[in-house]
């Protein structure tokens, strides 16, 4: 079916007949809704879209999408997506994962999927907790976090997911918030448009086991002052008054006030998604409340050939080189090397 013949799809087309079973009030509902809303954007037929998930509350999402879906095992969704995309470059592959799923049990697969630039859009629901297993510490839980498995508080330094994927050469890196529905939709749209490994971290509230984990800066009442919405090619300005900014002093970011101490907009760090060097992406990823506003938006978007493209290119090249020597004959291949005939 060509693009033009595609019927125009709506959110409704992407809703499956399954009852959604997250806890009432869970941030996952919003993520699901934005996902369903975004899908018609891409002009891709429903049957060409595949949602692959690991295990966790987040992992249930594919059941609610009226596309192809594969709820796999804990931490390994990226591996299955890698094989599927390699075998079937024609499909649009989304991976749904959690902070435990992607960063703990699946950490190794995450970094390798990113460095390979597997053409998958990975959405990581970060609730800083293990939700499905009822509330243990996760690799993003802050030091000191008291959970069932850490009654005296965790003693482990958390991972900064975007810093990790930047180090792993992810070609698209973004962050959004479950309740910031318009922004989240925009980020999903942009992740979906990207060709290559896209990593979208969604700050998600688990109202049962870790309620308010992000509230300090995501809440409507404070977000203007405590979050920084990244825009490509624009200076980093935030604050309800739009008078705060980020200045880069060498490799050190600083919060400055526009109009104070001679600071003008021209002094501010201008965001460049396409910066080929990931150093500044990592600096951005480390900026965190209360020292800094928490950045959301597209951190990085660089063009790079995808794993499946390169694989197919190699195969086509090898086929062409081979074709010059005559057709490939399996019978001849079996008989390669020294042969002899017994009469």
């Amino acid at each position: 079916m060509t693009q033009s013949e595609l019927p125009v799809l709506t959110k409704k087309d992407f809703e499956s007949d399954q009852d959604v079973r997250w806890c009432p009030g869970c941030g996952d509902y919003s993520i699901l809704a934005q996902t369903q809303k975004t899908m018609p954007d891409f002009g891709v037929a429903k049957e060409k879209i595949v949602f692959i998930s690991g295990i966790g509350c987040s992992g249930r999402l594919p059941y609610y999408m009226n596309t192809f879906g594969f709820h796999t095992i804990h931490g390994r969704a990226a591996t299955i997506a890698t094989g599927l995309k390699a075998a079937r470059p024609d499909l649009m592959v989304w991976v749904i994962t959690g902070d435990g799923d992607a960063l703990s049990i699946g950490g190794n697969h995450l970094i390798h999927a990113m460095r390979r630039n597997v053409d998958m859009k990975m959405i990581m629901f970060n609730n800083r907790i293990y939700g499905l297993t009822k509330g243990q510490a996760s690799p993003t839980s802050p030091i000191g976090k008291k959970t069932k498995s850490t009654p005296l508080g965790t003693i482990e330094t958390p991972i900064i997911p975007l810093n990790l994927v930047a180090a792993a050469e992810a070609s698209f890196i973004a962050r959004s918030v479950d309740t910031h529905s318009e922004h989240l939709q925009e980020m999903m749209h942009r992740a979906g448009e990207h060709s290559g490994a896209a990593f979208l971290e969604v700050l998600q509230n688990c109202n049962i086991f870790n309620d308010g984990a992000w509230r300090d800066f995501t809440d409507k009442s404070v977000k203007e002052d405590r979050m920084l919405v990244l825009k490509h090619g624009e200076p980093m300005i935030f604050g309800a008054e739009k008078n705060k900014g980020i200045r880069l002093n060498g490799l050190r970011p600083e919060v400055v006030t526009i109009g104070e101490n001679g600071v003008s907009v021209a002094d501010l760090w201008v965001h460049d998604e396409t910066d080929p060097d990931a150093t500044r992406t990592q600096i951005l990823s480390r900026m965190w409340w209360p020292d800094f506003p928490v950045p959301v938006g597209v951190f990085r978007r660089v063009p790079r050939p995808t794993h499946d493209q390169l694989l197919v290119e190699q195969i086509d090249g090898a086929k062409a080189a081979r074709a010059a020597k005559g057709p490939v004959d399996l019978q001849k291949l079996l008989a390669s090397g020294e042969t002899w005939t017994v009469e």
């Binding site: 095992i73 599927l84 390798h112």
Partner: protein, 625 residues
């Protein structure tokens, strides 16, 4: 009688079978020497069987005992099944090689040594207190002392090469001697040298000269009073090549892809002794084969499952430690009922064990090494050449029954070689299955089964109207939605088991070699085939009433096996493990099978099985030697 150049008469001795072991330092090129001798011998028309034996350390200290690398070849004018129990001739390139291998040599066997390597340092490294070439400790053997390094140095004079470079050609000198001794032509090796060292004229010439010098040495010296003739074997007509198990496995998968009319996708993490399959399939990009070197074995099987979900022949290759890592994903494949082939080239374990040595220890892990009841078909080739057929069989089962399949090879099969009667691809039956067709309207049932095979439809993404969700959670029968219904779970468990059990309908009748009833059945699986078959041949030649059955399908077992077991008074099961298949046989058929279990990282010797069988049989007719 022939006449050598000095005019002296040399005799020719006719032999039925000869076993030679080439041994030297890892850097001495013994594997290459062995494979060159094998290729020539196969071309000559003998039946051959080979067993390489390399050290696990890639660069063990030169001259040390752990650094010794060996290659054994047995060739015959008759049908042979093993690389020979004990070598008749040992080529030892240094003292360590002599020390490591001498105990295996038959009494009175020949030893050809490079005397130049028997210096004080090397003797010390090998732990010799005195020079065995001089202290008469080798008196019971035929010792041939050749200063190979000196001879190649002379032969390569004037080529402008360093003495170190020239020293590297001494293996070809040894090869030349052996070619002369066994009346082989140098042509194939000369061709190989020309191709291998194309553009490096001096190196090619040095190797050629070393080869010729060795041959000429055999011809001219008075050292060898005889040379040996092993007449060509009478193999069935057709075109042959020599093939290792890993090569045959790789080619089997390429052929399966053709017969199934689907793309082949391999994801694998390197591990000895399975890596060569990855290497070989990776070199077939021009055939459209996609390969990925994954970050670990879990990722490899994950990618294979993903490819299978997408409609390709998704597969992965590994050895024991990697197999252990794949367990959870295999369980997922059982649950989602996708076709998948997992190759386990077994090696000695547990844990890292002895990575280059053979064992049959992963059978029960393949059968049961997953959480809960999760039946998986298991197949096992018996010989290197049979790896080809069984690779296709593994895919046939996976496709027809929509199930993961474990293919159990081992280090002996993987690296051992034998002549292979090359099949005609056009004669091989199709193993094609169709994807589920596109549908209009709702109501697609991803778990609606084929009434005969119980296979569910292969509903690949991209097919309009088939949008559905699968996963590791239990699914409602037919509908495929998530279900926690107790009776449904029980029913699904039974269905998964029954689906695998029905594979038995396609398993051919078990062939019994020798007596099909009577005193003793020797029952084996996998790479023990050759040793068992040879032992049974010898036992029967002495009038013993013995049969040999060899199982290729381990799960499900052949349908006629229970009845066959009943026809014999005793059942002996040699296995290179603690009795894993025997445990299954005993529990399934309530037969008091007797185990013969050795785990030394090596194949059984024929004589060992023969002796064990004799101990179970009545009064002997004729004492075994």
């Amino acid at each position: 009688m022939t006449t050598n150049k000095s005019g002296e008469q040399q005799s020719i001795t006719e032999l039925d079978r000869v076993t030679i072991r080439f041994a030297g330092d890892s850097g001495d090129g013994m594997q290459l020497t062995g494979s060159q001798f094998t290729a020539t011998t196969a071309l000559f028309g003998n039946d051959v069987s080979t067993l390489p034996d390399f050290p696990a350390e890639i660069r063990a200290p030169a001259g040390s005992l752990p650094g010794v690398s060996g290659f054994q070849i047995s060739f015959s004018s008759g049908d042979i099944h093993t690389p020979g129990d004990r070598p008749d001739v040992l080529v030892a390139m240094n003292p360590a090689a002599l020390k490591v291998n001498i105990a295996d040599l038959v009494p009175g066997g020949g030893i050809i040594v490079n005397t130049d390597a028997f210096n004080e340092i090397n003797l010390r490294k090998a732990g010799y207190e005195s020079d065995p070439l001089k202290d008469r400790s080798l008196q019971g053997y035929n010792l041939y002392e050749i200063p190979m390094s000196t001879m190649v140095a002379n032969a390569c004079e004037g080529l402008g090469m360093t003495s170190k470079q020239i020293e590297l050609t001494k293996n070809f000198f040894a090869l030349g001697v052996m070619f002369w001794l066994y009346e082989r032509s140098m042509a194939a090796t000369e061709k190989w040298i020309a191709e291998k060292f194309a553009g490096k004229d001096a190196v090619a010439e040095a190797n050629r000269r070393a080869l010729h010098a060795g041959y000429a040495f055999g011809e001219t010296t008075e050292m060898f009073h005889t040379h040996y003739r092993v007449a060509p074997a009478h193999l069935p007509p057709g075109m042959y090549r020599n093939i290792t198990g890993n090569e045959a496995t790789a080619l089997g998968f390429v052929t399966a892809s053709r017969l199934a009319e689907r793309d082949l996708f391999l994801a694998s993490y390197p591990i000895t002794p399975a890596s060569d399959i990855l290497h070989q399939l990776s070199s077939y990009k021009h055939l459209g084969i996609k390969t990925v070197q994954s970050e670990d074995e879990i990722a490899a099987i994950g990618a294979a499952v993903g490819a299978a979900y997408g409609g390709a022949l998704g597969m992965t290759t590994t050895s024991g430690p990697g197999m252990a890592l794949k367990a959870e994903m295999l369980g997922l494949a059982v649950m989602v009922e996708l076709p998948l082939v997992v190759v386990d080239v077994q090696r000695a374990g547990p844990s890292t064990g002895m990575p280059t040595k053979t064992e049959q220890g992963d059978l029960l892990m393949s059968m049961f090494g997953r959480n809960s009841d999760s039946p998986i078909p298991v197949v096992a080739p018996a010989t290197p050449a049979e790896c080809f057929t069984m690779a296709i069989e593994a895919w046939r089962i996976a496709l027809k029954h929509m199930t993961p399949v474990v293919y159990l090879s081992d280090a002996f099969l993987a690296t051992g070689a034998e002549p292979w009667l090359i099949p005609q691809v056009a004669d091989l039956p199709s193993i094609k299955v169709e994807n589920a067709p596109a549908a209009t309207g709702p109501g697609f049932r991803p778990y609606k089964r084929d009434p005969e095979t119980l296979a569910r439809p292969w509903a690949v993404p991209g097919t309009p109207g088939l949008e559905h969700r699968i996963g590791g959670l239990e699914k409602l029968d037919e509908l495929g939605t998530v279900s926690y219904d107790p009776d449904n779970h029980h029913r699904m468990n039974l269905l998964r088991a029954e689906k695998v059990a029905r594979i038995v309908r396609d398993i051919p009748a078990t062939e019994i070699y020798g007596d099909d009833r009577g005193e003793l059945l020797i029952l084996g699986w996998g790479s023990t085939y050759g040793s068992i078959r040879s032992a049974v041949e010898r036992l029967r030649a002495r009038g013993r009433k013995v049969g040999h059955a060899h199982i290729r399908h381990i799960n499900p077992l052949p349908g006629d096996l229970g009845e066959i077991l009943q026809r014999f008074d005793k059942v002996l099961m040699p296995e290179l493990n603690a009795g894993q298949l025997r445990m299954l046989i005993r529990s399934k058929y309530l037969v008091d099978a007797i185990g013969f279990n050795l785990v030394r990282g090596k194949p059984f010797q024929i004589g060992e099985i023969e002796a064990k069988a004799e101990s179970l049989l009545g009064e002997s007719v004729e004492v075994a030697k």
